[in-house]
Symmetry: C2
Subunit: 528 residues, 2 copies
């Protein structure tokens, strides 16, 4: 389990990213002097006893072999939850009540099927686990009235099953983490092009189960748009989908599996469209006078059919704090609002697209700042979660949340969510810094990604829950979605119910009831 993240922090602490001194000064001005708020030591954790039915446990051993049924504390703690700030606050405080009774490591689709049979027979809950990067409470191992709960660590399903160069599609096993998948594809000359901030630790199955969206979504598309086929183990049998890129053969059931978060089945293989490894990768920055001006430029560009591979726009606050350059957070910025544009592909394609985008952004009032800052953004784009750990260590509460809406509603949504967060934290006596960027664009709309920081109160969990509730209420009241790319998990369920209404909820329940009659699949997530 070399790739597993640290039990109480993001990723591998050896890759820890430090915040520059200038940023600490800025934070001290805003929140007062830093103080030490460390995690409890691993040794102090007290796990609830593992309590699986002995028949189930011996059946797991029989199917998977002893080395793949883990009952030790380290494995159980490492699979306790995901990596949202609430998850981290809980485990940093020593709360491991959501640890599974065991961690199982299936090696094949058939292993998964057999495990599901055993779990259904003995009423044991199953939590599928890819890279453990959930930030919405999708991985808490709870029994929900069943006799036990196991986490299904998919890491051994790590093969490139097939690659069709002509069609540009590859079938990947669900447990492959982002970098490993890219490595296997690169050996054949291809890339998937899916780079969410969680890329280094997130899995192919997780991307599918949560409808992930990467930082290059403008060019390569959302993960759900990349998927052409799926293989899913359910308690009532295997579902194989993907007879064509698109069809009219009834509802698109792939889109029912995508976003199902382990509640309908365990995704074991994902067939995705792939692209030749780009010859050229260029990332540039632009300055716009205001967030509104930059946003209008993004909209116009997208509606004119010009889609850079990457396009992002920070608001004034995020630009000022220079979050696009993790190594310089807090140092002086260029003013206005910073946009990142990136181009990947053949020289010819990049040249053609870049020329057209550059011409249009210039007409729309953008000032080209060159490639230096853009490359810095690209180099540091997976570092954000490491910075969070450093802040959590020193008395700062920090978390992100995101939503999406249609272009005509972006302004209202931005103001409403920002002010809901600010009011909630101010009312608690901890004025907040709220930063925002547009992270993904569509012809008809865009997503807004907020980063929030405040001084930690004595109970930072309760403090954040109030702010999160206010932000979520504001999203739904604005007619926007509760999540553009983080999924539902446990944390977003009340707002999903409002977003899709009682008939929508009934449909999810009907599917769940049919494919999972014993209710063993990741109980408590997704379905309100």
């Amino acid at each position: 389990m070399a790739d597993l993240m640290h039990w109480s922090r993001w990723g591998n602490p050896a890759h820890r990213t430090e915040l520059p001194e200038s940023a600490w000064k800025l934070l001290e001005l805003a929140f007062g002097p830093p103080r030490e708020t460390p995690a409890v030591p691993f040794e102090s954790l007290t796990l609830p006893p593992s309590a699986l039915p002995p028949e189930a446990l011996s059946a797991f051993h029989e199917v998977l072999g002893d080395g793949n049924v883990l009952l030790d504390d380290a494995a159980r703690v490492q699979h306790t939850r995901g990596k949202s700030t609430p998850d981290l606050l809980k485990i940093r405080g020593g709360d491991v009540t959501d640890a599974p009774d065991a961690v199982l490591r299936p090696g094949s689709h058939s292993d998964v099927t057999k495990v599901l049979e055993i779990c259904a027979e003995h009423r044991v809950a199953v939590v599928p686990f890819g890279g453990g990067t959930s930030v919405v409470g999708g991985l808490a191992a709870r029994r929900n009235g069943l006799s036990g709960v196991v986490t299904l660590d998919m890491a051994r399903l790590d093969r490139l099953v097939s690659l069709d160069k002509l069609a540009g599609v590859a079938t990947l096993e669900a447990g492959l983490l982002g970098p490993h998948a890219e490595e296997l594809l690169a050996a054949e000359g291809f890339t998937l092009g899916h780079f969410p901030q969680s890329f280094e630790y997130a899995s192919i199955g997780g991307f599918a189960a949560t409808r992930s969206s990467g930082q290059a979504s403008s060019g390569y598309g959302r993960f759900d748009a990349m998927v052409v086929g799926l293989k899913v183990a359910t308690p009532i049998g295997t579902l194989v989908l993907g007879s064509a890129p698109s069809n009219a053969a009834g509802p698109d059931l792939r889109q029912l599996v995508l976003g199902s978060e382990g509640a309908f089945g365990v995704i074991t293989e994902v067939t995705v469209r792939i692209h030749p490894v780009p010859d050229v990768r260029i990332y540039e920055t632009w300055r716009f006078g205001s967030f509104t001006a930059g946003r209008d430029a993004m909209r116009k560009l997208t509606q004119d059919g010009l889609r850079p591979t990457v396009i992002r726009l920070s608001d004034e606050a995020e630009t000022a704090i220079n979050l696009a350059k993790p190594s310089e957070v807090g140092s002086s910025s260029t003013g206005g609002c910073l946009m990142v544009t990136g181009y990947e592909g053949t020289e010819e394609r990049v040249a053609r697209l870049r020329a057209a985008v550059t011409a249009e952004l210039t007409v729309l009032g953008g000032e080209a700042l060159g490639a230096e800052d853009g490359q810095q953004w690209a180099d540091g784009r997976f570092h954000g979660p490491y910075l969070r750990d450093v802040l959590l260590d020193r008395g700062v509460l920090v978390e992100t949340l995101e939503t999406a809406t249609f272009w005509s509603n972006v302004d209202a949504l931005y103001s409403s969510v920002k002010s809901a967060i600010e009011s909630s934290l101010s009312d608690q006596g901890t004025p907040a810094i709220v930063l925002c960027h547009i992270s993904h664009v569509y012809e008809t709309g865009a997503s807004l990604y907020f980063t929030v920081a405040a001084r930690q109160l004595d109970n930072p969990l309760a403090q954040w829950e109030k702010a999160k509730q206010a932000a979520s209420d504001a999203m739904i009241a604005s007619g926007a979605t509760i999540t553009h790319h983080h999924a539902i998990g446990r944390d977003h369920k009340p707002w999903l119910a409002q977003e899709i209404g009682p008939v929508g909820v009934d449909i999810l329940r009907a599917v769940k009831g049919r494919v999972d009659p014993a209710g063993i699949l990741n109980p408590g997530v997704l379905i309100p």
Copy 2:
């Protein structure tokens, strides 16, 4: 009901398209001398008596008003089935056993909801009816053990509900036919860009319910890709979807409604992305040496990110018969394989895209033939179904069918379906003409659209059913889809079951059972 099609023919017979003499000569060579095979006269039809529970009938009158509850023969016959060749053969032979007991014309979402309540209470089946263009048996009004069956003609739901110019989205009522929807949008400077062959008589709700795909899908996308929101009346309440262009808020339930063919609810409003009316529309033709060469060029172009608004490629047989120019079917062709490319948009965008496509198609071996034939294709592109009527009148059996697969499988699928059709009809003593074109392209694959003609046997329905079965078996055996854009209806159900497997079928049944507990919604369609 001015827009309703002729009871036994496509569209408005005043717009009848004649086949040129050269084509008749060709057909005579292939199939022998033409003979008259006319439809029975309307007067000879004998409808089964309308047999609705009296309480239901009076409730319908109360909700809709007398003028919107039609029991007359003309209305019932006009809503008897769709317009597949089997549908036409049946009704031309006088078979009106699939006539509804009544035709209801709701005027609003609320009307639809009330009708569903009455139908659920009195166990009356409901067949939603847009323009009546189904070619897969989606509109046969059958009781399926219930006490009666009504057709819900959506024609009065014909408003442009709202238009958001900034976001480029419009909400259209489901009963709007293609031309009327385009007219309402054009008045505001926009187009939807959805032009299937059925465009003149198909409805917005029907496009959604069947996952339609238009001839300009390369540029504007499939209909399901255009949809950002839906309003659906179900027996358990109203479902409203579409909080953002895309999100991660669980499974995308829009994609479960799209393709549901009236079995899960009645779609009353569809919110779609729209585009400014193009300044320029150019359609051109190209010649490639072979179907394989043209197909490789299409694939390369699409994978390089160059997507003309329209791109289609006829095989050698279809090119030879000159089907791209209905006015000249049967006359001499240019040889090789004909490709149509079309560009729509601003002058700048069209110029940019056209230059890039032209350069690449030339490198890939295409010979540019100019705009004359392309414009002829565009002018005649809705005429195909009229030609079918003329052929059915004179002893020729003619029908189309379509499928899709990944690029690496296109060759095998093409050969296998073509030879299955040829063998089946030859074995029946009626050698066939089988034509094919690639009608829609994706980065990862394409659709194949076949046109089949043969001499009619005494029982042309049985004759075609054998050929259709052979073609469908070949599609599934090739790992392709049973339908790229015609939907399932009744005709494709056995193959859908094979395509999505027992778990897929169970999921459809679960949703159906939950939203339609009385089983009143278009019983017999979609769900195997």
